[in-house]
């Protein structure tokens, strides 16, 4: 989903070939996870079918045929709608941690130990990200900041949970009974 809108956004700046698009995407968004060519062409085909982009020329050359893509009016409208829509927070990580804590408490395992270990892991990642950020460009560091704040949020939850484990044990054991 995000990838298709990223490509739409790039096409809005200028008409491009598929190969150019992948390079631009990787430079701007994909440092950690580069796009595969297949994914690029699959996504472009999907966007063309939806009428959000169109082919404005085909050039002969070495390798695959070089189609030139351009964004349509509908494409611009769709991109604007997506940009203006807030995203729902994604609670997937907390869900995992929560499940682990509840499971540990329920089974009488040491949840505090688990949380301390988890904190160490979080802090270690934060240290890595912070170190990376301090040498990164402003654009990259913004992305790293995003990750740092998210991990920090997790950490806060971990600290909060650790502070209330005793109360939590009683509640969970009650539920089991």
């Amino acid at each position: 989903m995000t990838v298709s809108y990223a490509l739409l956004g790039l096409l809005e700046l200028a008409d491009r070939h598929g190969y150019d698009l992948k390079q631009s995407y990787d430079r701007r968004f994909g440092a950690a996870r580069p796009l595969r060519f297949g994914q690029v062409y699959r996504t472009l085909a999907q966007l063309e079918r939806d009428g959000l982009i169109e082919i404005v020329g085909v050039e002969p050359g070495a390798g695959p045929e070089r189609k030139r893509y351009s964004i349509t009016a509908e494409g611009v409208t769709d991109l604007e709608r997506w940009l203006s829509e807030p995203e729902d927070p994604q609670p997937h990580l907390q869900t995992v941690l929560f499940t682990k804590v509840v499971l540990a408490l329920q089974s009488g395992r040491n949840a505090e130990q688990f949380l301390d270990t988890q904190r160490e892991r979080h802090l270690a990642v934060m240290r890595e990200l912070t170190a990376a950020r301090r040498t990164a460009s402003l654009q990259d560091s913004l992305l790293l900041d995003y990750q740092l704040f998210h991990i920090e949020a997790d950490l806060r939850w971990i600290d909060h949970a650790a502070g209330r484990l005793d109360a939590l044990v009683d509640k969970i054991q009650e539920i089991r009974l």
């Binding site: 301390d116 740092l148 920090e152």
Partner: protein, 225 residues
């Protein structure tokens, strides 16, 4: 690498309330160590004991092979003045002194000539991105600028270890990052160690190592393979 500062079984009570119940800790030369913990965990008290501001009721604090906890007050004061630097959360700058003179203060107190001290302070202003702000008094600086002045003041006299107690506690995240970036950068380039007490993970993440204090003890995490 042998430890520059070590604490062994440090205990400290305030009246009947125990603040520290046997803390073991070590800091290597040039290392950045973060001390984390919830409020009331005793982390500030630990910092004060490590820096010789407070004397522990029991246990040992050793700096560079010397027992800090056995030094008389005068000697500890001298140690703090010459070997340590301090960054506090707020309010350590003398309100009437312009930034430049605030930075030069430790050098002046050490008996350096005014011109020498101010030239050195001038360089620190530049290193911490405070060019042109030297004539402003603390009240005319933003929180982040004031903390960078505080960092400069802590480093100007060439300490071996800087103690920082919630150095970004009253700053927003952008200013906090800026302060910590410059703090750690300059300390690292000078080979100065830092002990930073904080409750913020993002500040602790600047450290080489983090210890967590809870209920007056250092939390020992399980060894993760």
């Amino acid at each position: 690498m042998s430890a520059l500062l070590t604490a062994l079984g440090v205990c400290k009570n305030f009246g009947l309330t125990p603040a520290l119940r046997g803390v073991d800790l070590s800091v290597d030369a040039g290392e950045v160590l973060a001390v984390m913990g919830p409020s009331g965990s005793g982390k500030s008290t630990l910092l004060h004991c490590l820096a010789g501001i407070l004397l522990p009721d029991a246990g040992e604090v050793t700096f560079d092979g010397e027992r800090v906890d056995r030094m008389p007050d005068r000697q500890r004061s001298r140690l703090r003045r010459t070997a340590f630097g301090f960054v506090f959360q707020f309010g350590q700058l003398v309100p009437e002194l312009p930034a430049l003179e605030n930075i030069a203060l430790p050098l002046l107190l050490a008996g350096q000539r005014r011109r020498v001290a101010e030239t050195a302070a001038e360089q620190w202003l530049a290193r911490l991105g405070l060019d042109g702000l030297g004539h402003r008094v603390p009240g005319e600086l933003s929180g982040g600028q004031a903390q960078r002045v505080a960092v400069a003041r802590a480093l100007v006299a060439g300490p071996r270890l800087v103690f920082a107690d919630e150095p970004t506690g009253s700053l927003d995240s952008v200013a906090a990052d800026q302060v910590m970036d410059m703090f750690v950068d300059t300390a690292k380039s000078e080979g100065v160690g830092i002990v930073v007490v904080t409750h913020e993970a993002r500040v602790a993440a600047y450290a080489d190592r983090t210890v967590t204090v809870r209920d007056g003890r250092v939390v020992q995490p399980a060894v993760v393979s």
